[in-house]
Assembly symmetry: D2
Amino acid sequence: MPDSPAPLRGYLSDNAAGGSPEILAAVTAASAGLAAPYGNDEHSRALVAKVTEVFERPADVFAVGTGSAANGIAIAALTPPWGSVLGHRTAHIDTDEAGAPEFFADGAKIVGLEGADSRIDPDALRAAVARRRGDVHSVQPSVLSITQATESGSVYGLDEIRELSRIAHDAGLRVHMDGARFANALVTLDVTAAEMTWRSGIDILSFGATKNGALTADAIISFDPALRTELSYRHKRGGQLTSKMRFQTAQLHAYLSDDLWLRNARHANAMATRLREGLAQAPGVRILGDLAANILFFHFPDDLIAGLLDRGYGFYHDRWAPGTVRLVTSFVHRENDIDDLLAAVAELTRR
Amino acid sequence: MPDSPAPLRGYLSDNAAGGSPEILAAVTAASAGLAAPYGNDEHSRALVAKVTEVFERPADVFAVGTGSAANGIAIAALTPPWGSVLGHRTAHIDTDEAGAPEFFADGAKIVGLEGADSRIDPDALRAAVARRRGDVHSVQPSVLSITQATESGSVYGLDEIRELSRIAHDAGLRVHMDGARFANALVTLDVTAAEMTWRSGIDILSFGATKNGALTADAIISFDPALRTELSYRHKRGGQLTSKMRFQTAQLHAYLSDDLWLRNARHANAMATRLREGLAQAPGVRILGDLAANILFFHFPDDLIAGLLDRGYGFYHDRWAPGTVRLVTSFVHRENDIDDLLAAVAELTRR
Amino acid sequence: MPDSPAPLRGYLSDNAAGGSPEILAAVTAASAGLAAPYGNDEHSRALVAKVTEVFERPADVFAVGTGSAANGIAIAALTPPWGSVLGHRTAHIDTDEAGAPEFFADGAKIVGLEGADSRIDPDALRAAVARRRGDVHSVQPSVLSITQATESGSVYGLDEIRELSRIAHDAGLRVHMDGARFANALVTLDVTAAEMTWRSGIDILSFGATKNGALTADAIISFDPALRTELSYRHKRGGQLTSKMRFQTAQLHAYLSDDLWLRNARHANAMATRLREGLAQAPGVRILGDLAANILFFHFPDDLIAGLLDRGYGFYHDRWAPGTVRLVTSFVHRENDIDDLLAAVAELTRR
Amino acid sequence: MPDSPAPLRGYLSDNAAGGSPEILAAVTAASAGLAAPYGNDEHSRALVAKVTEVFERPADVFAVGTGSAANGIAIAALTPPWGSVLGHRTAHIDTDEAGAPEFFADGAKIVGLEGADSRIDPDALRAAVARRRGDVHSVQPSVLSITQATESGSVYGLDEIRELSRIAHDAGLRVHMDGARFANALVTLDVTAAEMTWRSGIDILSFGATKNGALTADAIISFDPALRTELSYRHKRGGQLTSKMRFQTAQLHAYLSDDLWLRNARHANAMATRLREGLAQAPGVRILGDLAANILFFHFPDDLIAGLLDRGYGFYHDRWAPGTVRLVTSFVHRENDIDDLLAAVAELTRR
């Protein structure tokens, strides 16, 4: 990628990127020799130590192949089948996983809450945690699931996470964070991983790495040792305990080493900022929402959309509302890729 | 690995091996540029074409991260929750997956059948498929699952597969093959992939690649287009639809290219033959079972076991019966690794 | 009950009533002699004949102990686990069964639709059946569930049922009717059971009898023979196949005989009419919604609510909105019970 | 029944009997007036008090419609989905419930143990509870399920129950008793309900009443208050929380009142004794197993089987082995019914 002469024109999602060179190198290095399977190897042990260091606390780590598996298994460990999981109504767990959380959690119900910018409104949460508590005819609120960064690219502040967690914990719920874009949110807030998770009340984290540099490796990171057994068996039973686990844990270790994850995220976010600032000037273009992580929403004129698609740019449009365009940057986009897009917009809007 | 100066002394399982260099190279190559996610990329399309070529028939291919996921999803597509899955009583699906098939198949029941050498006895199958058909008080036989090569390293002949498949199909069951060591069995029989699967009555295959050279990539290969929709949604819902699918399909493509899979399997089997022939001479060592693929069973004297463990050799022992030892070879074992073990045995049994 | 001297003052729900004398007699009569278990008895066979007569078509009948079981098993037979069930957002299946449909249907998702008076809006349904069809990241619309009479006592007209069914069928969904108050709706519309079900596109019916005279017997009535096997095993596996099935089928047979079910429903509805007409005159009382079956909503002044509660009347209030009161009549309420309530209201509102 | 002039000739199962007159009367009486639904009524409260008295200890009671539901819900409250349930290999939960326990327990696995006379061998249990503890690749032993009386009519002694419970508890398992024929076993042992359950280590009981006089009412009786919430929601979610619960709890109350349950069971057992003693004399008839409760096994000559069937006697034969006959007596069989059968045997074997 670094030397690709042609500009990258895809902004559909950060999952269109390949892997970071450092992670590819780690995978290749991990292949040497024989290793104990199922996570009983050096790479997997090193990952646990690295997570402990990064999160400033011992934690249980379970590498998985997808964010859906991370979310499903994490949630299943926190709710009985007759429980409900409270998330924003746009949450990936409710809208984009084809029922994976219900599958992993043996039929638990997901309840969508309101809130601006894909962030759960604390009052909506207060009402939801109290609804029909102890009523045997109703599923019982059991888990709060917060997406950080959210599906629309916004980011909860630490205060917001703490407030939501407190409401949940006070009502006896456990708190899950869907961190598919954890690093992007972290660098936006410029806080520590500990601050954004367990110090703010998060019990368990779906730690995304794939969108920000890994090949196919995410992880469940649990801050509650009491969940270990439940998670271990659900991880195996859910088809996620790979025999050659070292190939996943080596990815995650490299991702967390030498600040690679933070560097990648900062770069992706910076590209978003560059893009947003450039587009702020474009005639007919309207910025929607605040800048936060690496997802941007705009209103584009129809002919601008058509013109960009015609030139090979890729992005979602007209999904949320007519003229609404989503652009997602990633660690592989370079400044000249952004500038290439801005130039195209300038040219198309000049006419 | 190729240049490792120290001999490999691990014979616990073929999943202790790393990845084939060709597959590592393919992963690195697949990382270039942006790619459509979720299998809508060139590598994934190329894999489908490759599978069609290798199996001499169009097939649906779903890459997965583990054999347990492959088995679980494949079986779930073939049985209702009130069905039963007939397998050998030593089958991995019944004994080593912590209930993954029951999880993926919404509570279907696995029924263990008898048969020598981990191979299902046709008469046992005949009895099982007929048992309580149409009796609403009993789960209904719905799937036959054959492991090839079996858990004890034996291999079904084509005639045996055909007979079992015919019994199953005649009774209205569908047929699944757990091919965690598919290539090892294939080269043992010296037949084509088509002959060992759909031409012998297999409806769906868990195609193992990880044990024989891939990093973490297996696949469900379905020969029945009617299963496509069911498999697609179960694959996604089961947490197996990776966004950067190209990293898995590129592995499988490389695995199937240039006969890599067959070369690796032939090598592993040849190492098993070399080991077996060498141990045939050793005083006090008794060979158990026939040679088939890359799993060998022996009876070793206690002091031989102790001596080998003491020197750093790794293998399972005393699990099946006192003195019973299992040795598994893989594509990474070299002739001098085998000779190193044989020399140690010779020395330990000489005394 | 018929001779109870004290007036009945409970209007919480029609499930507070006992059983019809005819049904009690049928249960006692069914007890004589030995009978084949699990529905292979004369009473169960007679029920099938009776259902065929009443519904003017052969149908499969599965007696169950609760409406939740009827709904859960019926829905499970119509949807894969990765499907969604479209119902009104107030539907009992979504709000009052503690996740029973998700349990019986192996984790399928219930999606709540909008519509006035607890009736699904056809445009909302049109949008919902089309949403993300074929998108593997989303559950797939598989079942339309219509409640007749609805949770708020309203009743779909035949035209409405037909329109909704047509939208569903055209999109490949199956149609379930939750008929917990089937008879009340039927006599409101003054149509035949056939017209309100299969002639209007209903594939499967949860046929309620308990609220209208049975002791604890409802039934799944399926108009699609292709569902028979699936229903049979799910019925057994769901813990609903009673050994002494005659005691349930005798109830249902008596319920359908000599128009008992229609007489009971007409009576309950007439009591609702009497109540509503009487309350129309009461100062400060506002009628909410149209009269349809045996559920009525009003706005009562606070002191009227307090006064009635104080005198021992039972009803839900302030659940939906401040001052909103729900009164449910049943087959056991007599004219003098209604008049007793009206007199109390008159007295309390006079002051 | 008491005055039926024709002799009862059915010995297929005790579930062929109707209901006890006392229970029918209780159902009719329970119908009077309005009552709070879902178990918040007087009859249901009275049942709890009665169970407390009979079992000499406060307990949670959940009425259900079938033994399968009782077993499924009870077991589900004791095991995680990745657990295993250890029962005798002939246990009803494994062989006759079409996978209901797997359904209710979200896919947990049932493991069949050996033991003579359908009684679990303590050594088999010792081995099973220890098998692969803590091995994430295997389901984990979580529940011991004892059937009392067993499927073959035998009865565990108190010492045996205590020994099995101790083995289970020492290994961290919970203990369930499937008491479909609880009363028959109790009167055989001539002990108290407390002695046969919680004083001997039983945590939760499927309390059967249907086979011994109820219409369709069994119950889950839990001696562990910590299970209450879990059981409540699973009971509702499993479709077992009837609105007119009084009709089930009134049955169970009458069943436990005035020793009706014990009188019925003593009578059924006495009829078994009379039958067995009578048949001991019959030429060619061989008694199989020891007398215990109300299930008897014999070896009959083929022509005796044919002759009896020809005269309208009903019983299972040739299911277990050629010539093996099972006769089950119940509370409705009278002495002259038994004598009628003995006379027929005498006549048929005389020739």
